[in-house]
Symmetry: D2
Subunit: 383 residues, 4 copies
């Protein structure tokens, strides 16, 4: 059983993560994490904060001489803005700088429902944790999971599929990492200018815009997840993981929504066989999953992210002290965070696949897992 | 902690479910379950099996004189077709009627990936459990969860939103139960004829068709789920539950995909306040969830179901013995199962909400939960 | 992840169990379960009920032609006494035979704390589930786990170590199954007569007596459980499982309590090595566990069971209606249930080991698990 | 659901803990944690390390101005010895000081089984995490749980009951905190000198000694835990938590082992009632638990700790490179760690009770929990 917990407020001291259940023998030197942390901070349309901080992971435990020990991996990512916020966010100081108090909740955020739930009249106590900054810890965790998958030849990549109404015309596959050189993390060079135009236009009207991310996993063996119980279905588990990313409002696999419009004869991926490839499909409308189980084809997930609700143009709200109609507070904000979300989506998919791999192949040493894995691939071949 | 397990093959003796963690004092007489079981079996476009069986629940344990005891609730639903299948499916008999063997896996089903995973050269061993018949047990479980919710004034209802390309023009709300009198479980009377035409057309070409279900929950208090950790977010948990229904390929909340296309100023639901209603919204694009937490507005979930892959017109496959190209076997099949899926969707949403309610309000007696709930509603009012 | 739920009241229709997460390919024909069910019902000192019922398992699902499918295994054990109790225990009938009501709770049972917790003024609603009859379902589940372990060469056996003050003088090891021919399930023939005398004496004074069970597992590989996180330690998990058996008040591993009295130099099991055996120990004071991990030596657990609190000689209680001092009700009872408890202990140890095996070796087919297991044993040998 | 993870090696940078699921509004200023950390480091018979380090907690997240936010609480405890160990334990440096390598595993520790499991030929990779230093993180976590319990009037205290053969003659109850002024954490002043003599004698022979701890919880309401499913029984859950403490080999509740020797009429705690106290018992042989449920009497747990296996007088082992017979390495060591274990036991009991409280009473704000709790106490009173 692989599991993790994260902690940390957006303007607190640091983000923390503990990953428990990792096998021994995974090589990590921090660079694999830092690259993904940097990508998460990048992308066209980000606000001012991203230039303040350049996230870097510090290993606290579970690693020795660049190899995992099998004990819990402790990760820490400092918040570089902390010194500016200590007077408002100190864990212990009984006197707090109240100028940072939030009394006018922002629609579209956890501010109001979270404030009610936890009884916080200062909704900063909610937004500090509900902030998408929390996803930096997830990205670090996902980067570790990715290294485990890599040892089995499973590759995972997220990218941007659509910004507002501008959709890429590109097949769902793993791309050269150069796609992250462009600030849209988009594999289709022809639409990037249009995407830029959309974001610039939205920015000039103090508004925000969303889009769709796509995550693809190649080299996934058939047989991850299971049909035998609802909560073992990998599509469900992936859907939870991706839907839990802030701002995501829709998740699709493969042909997704369209497979509910076209007749069955157009949809299903006929089964073929060749000695070299074993069983395979000519097309992959199912997105790599049948009956909640991976079928050996690439996993393809799309997720739609709403336009970010923290806009410079504020939204209608209520002052919770006076109950008067007011504009919501405006917190430092992005115009478009879809590129960042594609990196978070990649991380979440890596995590779920790593969980599924550990369940299916067991093992406490990376070598043991790889050995069990190859035995299984042999079985697949002979089926 | 509320949890359940189900068991049962499609042509085995029976389906089973055990629900563990229910409070004492919920009134059940079976009718609330049987009505939903009947709805699940109904709907326009079902195949022949539905007339064979009329599901009825039998309580094995956990209930006395129509009230839950707090001990595990044991549910059993007999498969009325069992006697015809015993020679092929007997748990113990070493001699099995091999005429029911499945060697040509059906695309779009768990047959092949499940066969590989579990090493079954007779893929009947997979499809018997992967069959949507399993959802009858989920519906029974969801019906129990629904009674718990009812005691708190939370109402949940699933209905059909779209069949193929025919979409209802009806707001997301709880409808009179009369909508189940029409075999499309659709609240918009104007489109039912068109839906019938779609299904009939598809049927005449031996094809199948999918659609979209919508589940709405009203009376949900603000504060279920949480932003504090990714796996507590209620949108993620609901997405898993609904995506795990066989055939579902996309899940959306509220405005869903469209909220990723329009600018932020069009999307977010401004916050208002009145003495009578407390905090409320003029519109509900978020679908009742902000930051992974319910916000007091109705919960609105849509899910797209692909066209059923078991068609009379068979799909390309491979004989796993000879590896020759063959048509897939044809198992008894529906043309369209979207109405049934709406009932399963309702059940899964009931379950997740019941889990969230038990986490938030604790308690071992229904009265205790209701009391804790009302204290919380008082807090909400005073916030 | 292997998991199970049980359900069923002592005088209800039946006991149920669902086991989820089993690999495909385990051979079961019911006899392996029924033998253990019979042993659980036997033993010297049992009350009248045991002659009424002879438990037999019925497979509802998850099994075909005597092999597990990988889908949830559904087990049902009928309560043969049901027809005599239906008027008092019917799940649905609104009119209940109130002569069976329990208003004078029995000390030492869940009656009173359970009645308060669940708000049952008729404490039959508690004792029906708190009854040790529930352990029949656990024994059935454990018998299935035992078959999985058997395929890896891991053998588990429970027996009686002590009744009252009479302790067997026998080493902790797996005995010939003939020990169950004597009604004390005790491997030391010299003390059986004394045990009989103790039970007979206690019986003649309408009293009850407890004792100690011992469960031994041989063929356990080193490396099950882990030191890396508190809840992965196998000693803790075994302790929970065994302590959860009704009546158990103490659990010990290996030398147990005595290892806290003698100095360290007397306790620890020096490490030796030979080409044939690999690493081994000359003695096994640790009971097969070091640092929460199995060390390759036999697992040895002892658990002390209190004297059963349902005695013919009743205990002081209170009538919960009038609050007057009264004797507790007397429910049908055993004099000594230690032999039965040894079978339940065996079942719980089998379960925990099966969980640990599935975590360590993964796999969905029994063959795959065995293959992964043998690869691991090779690694152990080469270490 | 309350949960936590810890991380950290004994000579690594720091210990970490993340507690997830805490309500908002618990007051923490660090002193409540630091006092328990200091007690854990104290006690007669500790080795040299304890003087090096004085543990202090640092709050990384989840706390603002001394109140919990409801978000994950991140705790960090620096290892003050880190600078001396960095060359041997650096997470990243590919060149490691190999003089600290462990190739001769210590009997009684995780060294050998852990080395085999995780494939570490340098068993320092095991012992660094298996070290009891890990319990410092548990103590910090338990101290937080204790504050939650305190708000409900539940008090928990661990103390030393026995060292070697010297047993205190003191009733199981909460003592004045002054008992920690004596280095045996023992409430019976008459035996402390004898305990000192035992430890000094053992020390002079380079040996080690164990003993028994006792943890008592007062103010525990009836109704925590449940009889309805084996894994809900609170005795089982407490047994796991306490047995998971390094060195613990036996766990008992109330009268424990002795209740398996004496006849039933001597054991069970008759039920009484008075208007002032409600239901109560004249004695508490059950240790506060019946049927796996708290019964309102004090919870009483004893746990026996073996003599520490890291002795100055080394034990027989094998060099894993040469397979030759050798003495085990000698790592810095204590003579007797029973006083420290009593503090860890207290922490684990606090944790399990806090979990049980959150399950039974729900709630996200401390006030809400307290309110639900008082409503329940009213129900208890009226039963």
């Amino acid at each position: 059983m692989l599991r993790y917990l994260t902690a940390g407020e957006s303007h607190g001291k640091a983000l923390l993560a503990i990953i428990e259940g990792l096998p021994a023998g995974i090589k990590l030197d921090g660079s694999e994490i830092n690259i993904l942390l940097e990508r998460r901070q990048g992308g066209y349309g980000r606000g001012g904060r991203m230039s303040i901080e350049k996230d870097e992971v510090e290993f606290i435990s579970g690693l020795r001489s660049s190899y995992t020990l099998g004990s819990p991996l402790g990760l820490l990512i400092k918040n570089r803005d902390w010194e500016n916020w200590q007077t408002a966010m100190d864990p212990l100081d009984p006197v707090i700088d109240m100028s940072k108090r939030v009394a006018r909740p922002r629609p579209g955020h956890a501010d109001l429902p979270g404030g009610i739930k936890y009884g916080h009249k200062d909704m900063r106590n909610i937004l500090e944790r509900a902030s998408a900054r929390e996803t930096a810890a997830r990205v670090a965790v996902g980067a570790v999971a990715k290294e485990l998958l890599k040892a089995l030849g499973i590759r995972v990549q997220g990218h941007v599929f659509r910004i507002g109404g501008i959709e890429a015309d590109s097949p769902p596959k793993i791309y050269d990492e150069k796609i992250y050189d462009n600030p849209f993390y988009c594999s289709d060079p022809r639409v990037r200018d249009q995407m830029k135009l959309v974001v610039d236009t939205v920015k000039s009207s103090n508004d925000s815009i969303g889009g769709t991310i796509r995550v693809v996993a190649e080299g996934v063996p058939p047989g991850l997840g299971s049909h035998v119980h609802w909560d073992r279905r990998l599509d469900g588990r992936l859907a939870q993981a991706v839907m839990s990313i802030p701002g995501i409002k829709a998740v699709e696999f493969g042909m997704g929504l369209r497979s509910s419009i076209e007749p069955g004869s157009h949809i299903h991926d006929g089964i073929s066989y060749s000695k070299e490839k074993g069983y395979y499909r000519e097309r992959n409308n199912a997105g790599g999953l049948e009956g909640g189980i991976t079928n050996g084809e690439p996993l393809v997930i799309r997720a739609a992210m709403k336009a970010i609700p923290t806009m410079i143009m504020p939204l209608q709200s209520v002052d919770i002290d006076t109950k008067e109609k007011m504009y919501a507070i405006v917190e430092r904000s992005d115009i478009c965070a879809v590129p960042a979300a594609s990196i978070v989506g990649e991380a979440m998919v890596c995590w779920v696949l790593a969980e599924a791999v550990m369940e299916k192949f067991g093992g406490d040493r990376l070598e043991e897992i790889v050995e069990n894995y190859h035995n299984y691939l042999q079985h697949v071949k002979e089926f």
